[in-house]
Point group: none
Chain length 225, copies 2
DNA sequence: CCCTCTTGAGCCAATATTGAACCAATGTTC
DNA sequence: GAACATTGGTTCAATATTGGCTCAAGAGGG
């Protein structure tokens, strides 16, 4: 057959680009690949060389051939970093998507222990003296709600959000936007949410969270303008 | 076998992280572990050394090897790494929260260019020959929808989801669940969503996405049982 | 016939794994 | 306390696996 090289190169690269062979995956040995494709090893090696030149794979004598893991680590390291660069408006938009649903889930799934943790965080946030302390317990409250959903991905998400909100640039923004009046309002919102959770009222919890985050967003854009 | 070290290291660490080998548990002697895994002791020792370096175990001459207590908090590694351990059900639950809203946002914000990209991805996914190729264009389609929201956080989220779905363990699951019939159904769903986007019909786009992901979830749990 | 692609085989160098032996620290038994 | 067994720590040579490379012969289209 003519041009087997291009054919097998296409086949292999599609396996890589589709994710079937993920980053860091170790390809079968050349000799086996050649046998599986019904080709001589030399021919298959030409295909591999092409992929290597395109940067898709890395070959190491005595170790094997690997899907190049250069693209993914950049994402792994960069995901949080990229999220940290998100704008406040983008962030609150995402929170408005996720957190009402999370609150609704928490209403149906929270254990008694979860509720106790949530209520403790609420009490502490009401008692908090400074802005920093209030923010701490506010974050703890939201996190406790996410834990109550029993969904580890949601917990991860909330921790990421918290880490974003703990950055210095956000601190400055908060200090401009969090006034005694707004704190009082936020406490009322939080209280409504927690009450709804205790009464297993998913719909009320969702709506209360929407109202809460909408208020936060309006304060943010008000402060920005 | 060639990469026995990594394999057995993964096996052992999963036993620890899953809790099967709790904190303080004493591992079987190296010689026994090696025999059970069909490896030479030296090879298995390399795997143990890797775990030791990661802080998962402690080795004591003459006493044995122990799962390290307090190992968990010290391992604040990567957000993405943690997300990768999420269960399929957790993942689809989060997708059901976010993606319908994202579709609704995309309906109001997508540019003509965005719509062209989305429709191209849809066409490619319909034409795709294998499961891998279909998955590739399916992911591209969802990503294009997220890009159309103009919210960088949502795009980051979608890329994280895609990277999770590209893992080998997910690949096996997909190969069991994606049949020609389900692919046909998914194509219909995708088509409905894209049409709604083009017509700027946010509500229809949201509902179509909900129906789509609900179907995917049902296929998943159906395959699991 | 000529040219290119492909094959099959062999050899080399780098790496991985094995298998065994011996040492050192700890625990157990008498 | 002494003898013995168990366990991790270390070293080393032998073997297996793997990619890097070369070359002569075959296959197939112009």
């Amino acid at each position: 057959m003519r041009d087997s090289v291009q054919k097998v190169a296409l086949d292999l690269s599609s396996k890589i680009e589709s994710g079937e062979w993920a980053d860091g995956y170790r390809l079968p040995p050349e000799r086996r690949l050649a046998a599986e494709h019904g080709l001589a090893r030399n021919t298959l090696r030409q295909a591999l060389s092409a992929l290597e030149q395109r940067g898709l794979i890395v070959r190491q004598v005595g170790r094997g051939t690997f899907v190049r893991a250069e693209s993914r680590p950049a994402l792994a390291d960069g995901l949080l970093a990229k999220m940290r660069n998100a704008s406040p408006v983008d962030l609150i938009e995402v929170r408005l998507i996720i957190e009402p649903q999370a609150a609704a889930l928490a209403a149906t799934r929270a254990s008694g222990e979860d509720l106790a943790t949530i209520e403790a965080a609420l009490r502490q946030s009401v008692l908090a003296k400074g802005t920093a302390e209030f923010e701490h317990w506010d974050a703890a409250l939201h996190l406790a709600i996410f834990r109550a959903t029993k969904n580890s991905l949601l917990v991860d998400y909330c921790e990421a959000i918290t880490s974003i909100r703990n950055q210095p640039r956000w601190h400055r923004l908060k200090q401009r936007t969090v006034t005694p009046a707004s704190r009082h309002l936020y406490n009322r919102h939080h209280s409504t949410i927690v009450t709804a959770l205790r009464e297993r009222d998913a719909e009320t919890a969702r709506k209360a969270m929407i109202e809460h985050l909408t208020t936060v967003r309006d304060h943010l854009v008000g402060a920005a303008s």
